[in-house]
């Protein structure tokens, strides 16, 4: 049968199933309300409420609760489809946390992007928001241009374009860098410094990950790179993570919009008071703007960390299956790889639980730390 027709028929059947199950759930809810001796109006509200909410309730049971419980069980088994799962106790978790080098590499790579990429992303988003906040004519157009990458960034078409853009030999980015340096020659040593810093930190990071510091020694021995050394981006293990960070910075439009909304909600009388007191722009920013928009920073940080932990498309498309030398293995990518490429269902399930716990811990830490630096106005009132 034509696969589209097949799915279309299933879609119609699903709609019928949802309506029927919603009627069933709503009827049961109404019966319970009647048993509890509630009046007619209460009963009819109960029926309507459960009827409209049921698509989500039923879906939650089928697609979230059921699978989550199953996955918890399978995480304690060795499970290769189509064979049934075999109970192995904590073995998957022990292997993941102690002997699986690739998992450790993935976790540390995710951490790298969170530590170095997220602050860069936040800073770029804030700078763009501050520029737009001037409300100069044409601001609407700029806002649109800055948000556009968010829509495109996750598509493989865009990532494959980045592969071409970042090509170290005839890619446009390195050419652009050279062109700009042609106009402002003082930027050449700046770039040399950036190249040196990036390669050293990445070599050190790779060394820490693998317990093998040869690459770091080589990079250190080479010293400050000459002016002809350009970033190698996705083709070198020293540059692949910075390349992914660059794409993250490119698509920081959501964070920018959230900053922009926060900036507009800062009461203007604070700035006026500061001006009267003679504060300069720098002081006004750090003493007023930055604390006042700290809830936006917090929100961006929480959402951003969860998003970085789930990077997948970049490893698959941009760096060709997590390469070079596993330098772009991230948690979500490695999970996908071992579960679906190597059919290790139980192992993947255990990994997804570690990922969940990791996200919960990181979010909890952030909420704890938030008391120290996030300022909510209503606390004052």
């Amino acid at each position: 049968m034509n696969p589209k027709l097949y799915t279309l028929l299933w879609a119609i059947a699903t709609v019928a199933f949802i309506i029927l199950s919603s009627l069933a759930v709503a009827s049961v809810a109404k019966l319970v309300a009647r048993w509890r001796g509630k009046n007619r109006l209460y009963q009819s509200r109960t029926f309507a409420g459960y009827f409209f909410a049921s698509p989500w309730i039923v879906g939650y049971i089928i697609f979230v609760i059921g699978p989550t419980l199953a996955s918890l069980y399978w995480s304690f088994t060795r499970f290769k489809l189509p064979a049934p799962p075999v109970w192995v106790g904590l073995q998957n978790y022990i292997q993941l946390l102690t002997t699986d080098d690739q998992f450790r590499v993935s976790i540390l790579n995710s951490l790298y992007v969170t530590l170095f990429g997220l602050p860069l992303q936040l800073a770029t988003a804030l700078v763009l928001a501050l520029l737009l906040y001037r409300r100069l004519p044409g601001e609407q157009v700029f806002r649109m241009i800055y948000y556009l990458p968010v829509m495109l960034a996750a598509n493989s078409a865009m990532l494959i374009t980045w592969r071409l853009v970042l090509n170290p030999n005839n890619g446009i980015l390195n050419t652009l860098i050279r062109m700009i340096e042609g106009v402002f020659p003082f930027l050449v040593p700046v770039r040399q410094g950036v190249v040196w810093f990036t390669e050293i930190t990445n070599a050190a990071f790779l060394g820490l990950q693998r317990g093998d510091f040869n690459l770091l020694h080589q990079t250190l021995a080479r010293g400050l790179p000459g002016p002809e050394v350009m970033p190698l981006w996705h083709q070198s293990q020293l540059w692949s993570k910075p390349a992914i960070i660059l794409i993250g910075v490119w698509s920081c439009g959501t964070m920018m919009m959230i900053y922009l909304a926060a900036l507009s909600s800062v009461p203007p009388h604070l700035y006026e008071a500061a001006l009267v007191d003679g504060a300069n722009g720098w002081q006004r920013f750090w003493r007023i703007t930055f604390p006042m928009i700290s809830p936006a920073t917090f929100y961006n940080l929480v959402v951003g960390i969860i998003a970085t932990l789930q990077i997948f498309e970049q490893s698959y498309v941009l760096t060709d299956n997590g390469g070079p030398a596993q330098s772009t293995y991230f948690v979500a990518y490695y999970l996908w790889r071992s579960t679906f490429r190597f059919n290790k269902i139980g192992y993947g399930a255990a990994m997804s639980w570690i990922l969940l716990v990791l996200i919960l811990i990181l979010t909890l830490i952030q909420f704890r730390l938030a008391n120290k630096w996030v300022y909510y106005e209503y606390e004052e009132a």
């Binding site: 996955s71 520029l131 800055y146 556009l148 071409l164 929100y299 498309e313 996908w336 269902i345």
Partner: protein
């Protein structure tokens, strides 16, 4: 310290203002350049010849723009099939998700029912759940019922109001509509289904449009689930095909063709964004302030 903020300059205030605005414009333009140059490069490469695209010398804009690559994609029945696959998956998923999300948001905003707060809390807690937690067991489930290798696993789950964030957004919007609307209609003898369909949904058009766009983008760009569930090449969606276009075995890649296909994949996104950007940008700001 006291004087730094308002140092008197020899330039008149207006000139200084114009000067600082000029700098801001320059920075804004530089930022736009950074945002747009990959797209420019995509377009420019798609119009080049193979020699121009692969030569070590940079060709900013081809001397004679070629439309061959586009012609090649648009006349190839396989590419047309991939486009129709993507369009099919996206349309059906967006429709099913949108309608069910609208129903659930109505229950959370316009009806008082026992257990509403508990269910709402459960729904919000799924926002914390990483996609991967359910990905693995769902695969096993779909494998059991024989859905692996069909479009069902990437479309049907959405029909159950998939996407807690969208329910939340729409609920916020519906909460803002006056209560008298439903009360008057209820007194006139309308039932909840009629109120939902004829009164509330028409008033939610901007919010519904925004959510439809987010759903469209998410489904159009989706790579991971199609990679897992679609197993025959004639069912592939565009991202799956494009992700595998580069052949590491050959030295010279058909970049003009790859970029033409990529550009054609991006065009629906750009068009949709262009026409709905005002609503979208507004609601993005909303998620941050209310979430």
């Amino acid at each position: 310290m006291r004087k730094t903020g308002r140092r008197e300059s020899f330039l008149p205030r207006k000139v200084r203002q114009a000067f600082s605005n000029g700098i801001v414009y320059l920075l804004l333009l530089a930022g736009s350049g950074f945002m747009l140059f990959p797209l420019f490069w995509m377009l420019s490469t798609s119009l080049k010849t193979m020699e121009e695209a692969n030569s070590p010398r940079i060709t900013w804009w081809p001397a004679e723009p070629q439309l061959d690559a586009y012609r090649q994609v648009l006349t190839d029945s396989r590419w047309l099939l991939y486009f129709s696959n993507s369009a099919f998956v996206t349309t059906l998923a967006v429709l099913g998700t949108l309608v069910s999300v609208a129903a659930v948001a109505y229950a959370f905003s316009r009806i008082q029912w026992p257990g509403r707060n508990i269910v709402f809390f459960l729904m919000l807690s799924t926002l914390m759940l990483p996609y991967q937690t359910t990905l693995v067991p769902q695969y096993v489930m779909f494998n059991k019922i024989g859905w692996v290798g069909t479009y069902n696993p990437i479309i049907i789950p959405g029909f159950f109001a998939g996407g807690a964030l969208y329910i939340f957004l729409l609920r916020q919007f519906m909460l803002g509509l006056p209560k008298e609307l439903d009360e008057a209609a209820l007194i006139d003898g309308a039932n909840h289904f009629q109120i939902w369909w004829h009164i509330i949904l028409p008033l939610c058009k901007p919010a519904l449009a925004t959510i439809a766009v987010f759903l469209f983008v998410g489904n159009w760009n989706a790579l991971q689930a199609p990679l897992i569930y679609l197993q025959r090449a004639n069912m592939y969606t565009l991202p799956v095909v494009i992700a595998n276009l580069i052949n590491p075995q050959v030295r010279v890649q058909p970049w003009p063709l790859i970029m033409a296909a990529s550009a054609l994949t991006m065009i629906p996104l750009v068009i949709v964004f262009f026409f709905t950007q005002r609503y979208i940008l507004e609601s993005v700001a909303l998620t941050g302030t209310k979430g």
